[in-house]
Amino acid sequence: MNYAQLSLIEQLILTLSAMVLLTSFLLLAQTRIISLINIFAAQGFLLFLGTCLIAQSSGMYHLYISAGITLALKVFFIPWQLRRLVKRLDIRRDVENVGGPSMIMIAGGALVLFSYYVALPIRELSTLATRNTIAISLAVILLGMLMMITRRKAVAQVVGFMSMENGLFFAAVVSTYGMPMVVELGVAFDVLVAAILFGIFFFQIRAGIGSLDVDHLNRLHEVDR
């Protein structure tokens, strides 16, 4: 099937998925904590829009529920929670130095290529119009992982983790029109609990090592001092 033969709504879905990939790259490059959280919220909003459009074009109306959960959790609750934490930890103005930004960007590009290559055989099995976006959602997962590896501050790592979850959700929506509702609710609840737990964790980490830089966890106090 040729790209030009797709309906406009399907083209819009594909464009939105490409924008989700873009937000993943922006997360990778962004060094300010508050902007990081805003981009994460924007990614959630793009996911919400994409899910709504898929629900509309495929007639799978139960996807609207997933979209609603995404909107409530990933656009409003989790970013709000993270912002509140950042305010209480007083790290709003923190700028994190990411080592070798251009190298990370190139690695990100390579990951996209890799996920395209990996997703090629999966694509052959599917007949949905959105099957091409499987590679994109895989890339979003891998980019979130790359972000967790390259960042040292705990908050940025949590954002990376959440964007990995975004990628998983997106993969489920585009490849099989969503998971069973029980699974989806379970995952959403897990993410919710994780967001709250991470908040408690931040305070514990900071109380323990005096900083949110998790590199300090590699060192043993008895040896270094």
Partner: protein, 314 residues
Amino acid sequence: MNGWILALAQTILFLFCAPLLTGWVKWVKCKLQSRRGAPPWQPYRDLLKLFRKEVVLSESASPIFRVAPYIVFSVTALAGAVVPMFAVGLPSAAIADVIVLVGFFALGRFFLALAGMDVGTAFGGMGSSREMTISSLAEPAMLMGIFTIAMTVHSTNLASMTRYLLEHPIQLYPSFVFAAMGMLLVAVAETGRIPIDNPATHLELTMVHEAMILEYTGRHLALMEWGAMLKLMIYSILLVNLFLPWGIADNFSTLPLLIGFGSIVIKLFLLGTALAVMETGIAKMRFFRAPQYLGLAFILCLLGMLSHVILEIN
């Protein structure tokens, strides 16, 4: 024959509308900053005045310094002849494709940088070095963006690109969204507009383009300035005609030509206004942030190409 006359007319229009676009951007900017502002046709007066003034040359100036303005201007004008402005299918479009267009710009820039270093002042050398740094980062992004579009339309000729897009209306290509964003960033950097270079300043430490032409006077300066205005015009037309090609004429009868002309005028005025709003809203970047900015442009164009391969090919 008709086609060649039209092509000539288009090139002449190109040359003589370029100062108006620059003047319009300046005027809107002044209005936004609550200043009275010179009228939009002020650049014509400036150019006329400069053409009438005598040329003062430094004693250490070599012939390169003297021929550079003519080369820069004529190369830019030739580039303008290639870009379809209000009609596609003109015979002049076959002179060069879009890769050669980038080559024209590179040639012009080469002589501009040579001229900047020729007299041996510190500012000229500094400006040339900066210009080359910026362009070496901007050019790959530009080419990547162009390749992204060329892969969709199966051509690198500007006229056939625009014609293809006209014949396939209302398609939403994800790769085009990225290429448009990336090329917008590149165009801003290449034409020396605000986050990269400030066209309105002569402050020593921040200028790039102004630093290179600091030693020029009279008609040489006029040609250099006119060349810069033309470059802004070419990039603007390139952007609007590649990404919003509607209205452009695809045959040579009177009505489509008039519609094409009217639509390009409207599009350019809108783009000029948007440029002025953007320049008023943001501050100039530190020079060492420029690689980051152009890196973003490159990533956008790369993503455009990747999304073309992943999403649009079956």
